[in-house]
Symmetry: C3
Subunit: 270 residues, 3 copies
């Protein structure tokens, strides 16, 4: 059921992250930026957070990938994202978009649509409600939490992938990753991720780190989610609640070696 | 000394939080927003942080309660609070105000007074110096820390409660909760809360979660503080300092069951 | 090799922090402000974070030291730093500047230079690339990480110290502290600090706490770095990765007693 070649590729991608230590520039929300920065360091990448319009273009020039995350959004922040995104496109840097809360408010939905239209986004990762809201109007999440299962957003993901030439990653109990043709299902993960803030944002950050070093973006995306999910499985084993879980998750991201990921990755070609 | 009926009510309120998973919209400070979001998830509620004027009204419409927290305040942030607060009032959503640093600067004191005047605030929770500064000019805290004991603010709390039709919660070694007539004293808590940042903000968030589901606001407020304080007592037992304490506190909030709260709540009718 | 008198002084400075509980006002970045606030509380100081132009001057008046940290910078933030800094100068409060990412973007380099020119900065603490960028144009870090060893920045540090009458602290495996004449080398620390975000920002915050109580600024700076580094050594011993490390670091800062610091401080007169 699970593909051994993709597990092998996941391990190779992790190895490359540790070797190349890609610098990930994130324009992201205030709530989870500390955690995602720590997770980037834990996986072996470097992190820089900078969002001022005055400097984002210069900062992007130093980076190997760009994360645009729509949590705690504002108009000013969207402008900075556009500037950074255009510079990233010019330099062929991979951009990962996290449409936090798309569908919840007009600002978030419109801003997402604008960024997708104006920029060449390599990967869009969201929960099912967020992904649905990008294709259908009317799919409204509850705040930033999904009210839909992954399967409900599968068709929307495939369509968005085809329309924009992006990879769509839909997070849920089993994650879906698709470029509009191939579909991978990543079975790694743990329910405890739902009891901490920033699990989705962190998955997005991991994708950016893997994209920055991987030659095949679809495989790199699945690899990142598998790695993140497997670390969560390990962290949950010795946790007593969401506090110790999120700390052990950082430890697990840091300690995971390639062999472990090769053995533990559960990626299915769907 | 401690009221068994109120302990029973506290347990029932906790049960309702877990069943209804109320969505709490917080417009809050940058320092502690990650921790309070995690605490909201740990207690069983959902959390959304959004502060842009462009979207706060829409976001409030999805929420079950609104937190206005004055840490890292700015004029722009106050405007967003007013917009969100007015929408919340229109929808009869409970609003909890945390006057972080009221009395320390004119911006904070004035902004608090304006929000209290313009909005119908269900609960105001602060430390004694903050509460005093809202009634007397001249009561000046040291930064954001209290220089007064709870009793020194008891009269001010009762007067503010009567004047504004709000519940006042004054945090300290023993918390005071009053609607201007009845007074509850919550004896749960631990000194270690003073060695972490955001303990007060988290207490405020817990009140919002309990208010969102509780039919009696005074009981819900006391219940939230008792639950939070009891979790702190548990966390302190196995902590080696403020780092492990704050992680174990999230675990304790998550693991506390109703029976435990019923047995451990120490709420006194004063 | 290590100076016993300086170790003794370090212990005395720590004792004073616990006795006087200095209030440290930080205008700092969004990524690490929670952690640095917690570290300030853990070491025995008090923390207030406030950055709105409308209130920074008033807040500074309550404080015993001011931290200006350039992470997640914006023009607006720099104006607030100038206002707060001028008020601090008027009151002879020590200012500590952390030039996060200086050299990475024009905004950061120019803002640093402007603050150094306009304000009387007691201590500038940065990594070697940041310190180099303040004297030479062209020394460009990789995002916010240093690409230079401490020794490469030693001459720049001495020159900057002389030119501006400041103390320069250059962080690395062995930290350099100099006022342009005397040089101290602080050998405490641990590599794990490189795997968490905010280690540098936290070192800066510790310096501010020690400066606020110490009569000799050079000794206080070395003391703070020694204390922070020794706590990191202790934390690393029982950590399984960067997650548990940063939690245990807060515990270690909190639990370190003067005798331990006196025994463990490794400060060399270079």
């Amino acid at each position: 059921m699970f593909d051994k070649g993709l597990a092998q590729k996941a391990a190779e991608n992790l190895k490359k992250v540790r070797e190349k230590k890609p610098l990930i520039h994130s324009i992201t929300n205030y709530v989870t930026m500390n955690y995602t920065a720590n997770a980037l360091l834990a996986c072996g990448a470097s992190a820089v957070m900078a969002h001022a319009e005055e400097e984002v273009e210069e900062m992007v020039c130093l980076a190997d990938a760009l994360v645009l995350n729509l949590g705690t959004l504002s108009e000013v922040r969207v402008h900075a994202m556009e500037k950074a995104g255009k510079e990233a496109c010019k330099r062929h840097l991979p951009i990962v978009l996290d449409p936090v809360g798309a569908g919840a408010t007009t600002l978030r939905t419109r801003s997402c649509q604008r960024l997708i239209r104006e920029l060449s986004i390599r990967v869009i990762r969201g929960n099912p409600s967020e992904i649905l809201s990008l294709s259908h109007e009317g799919a409204r999440p509850r705040g930033i939490e999904s009210v839909h299962p992954v399967d409900a957003a599968a068709e929307a993901a495939v369509n968005l992938a085809r329309e924009h030439g992006s990879i769509l990653a839909v997070s849920g109990r089993v994650d879906l990753v698709t470029d509009g043709k191939t579909r991978y299902r990543v079975h790694n993960g743990h329910d405890m991720l739902g009891s901490m803030t920033g699990a989705g944002c962190t998955a997005t950050a991991m994708i950016a780190a893997f994209l920055a070093v991987g030659s095949n973006a679809l495989e790199a995306t699945a690899a990142a989610l598998s790695y993140f999910g497997l670390a969560a499985e390990k962290a949950a084993k010795s946790s007593e609640g969401p506090g110790s879980f999120q700390i052990r998750l950082l430890d697990a991201l840091y300690r995971m070696d390639e062999e472990e990921l090769k053995q533990g990755a559960r990626i299915e070609i769907a």
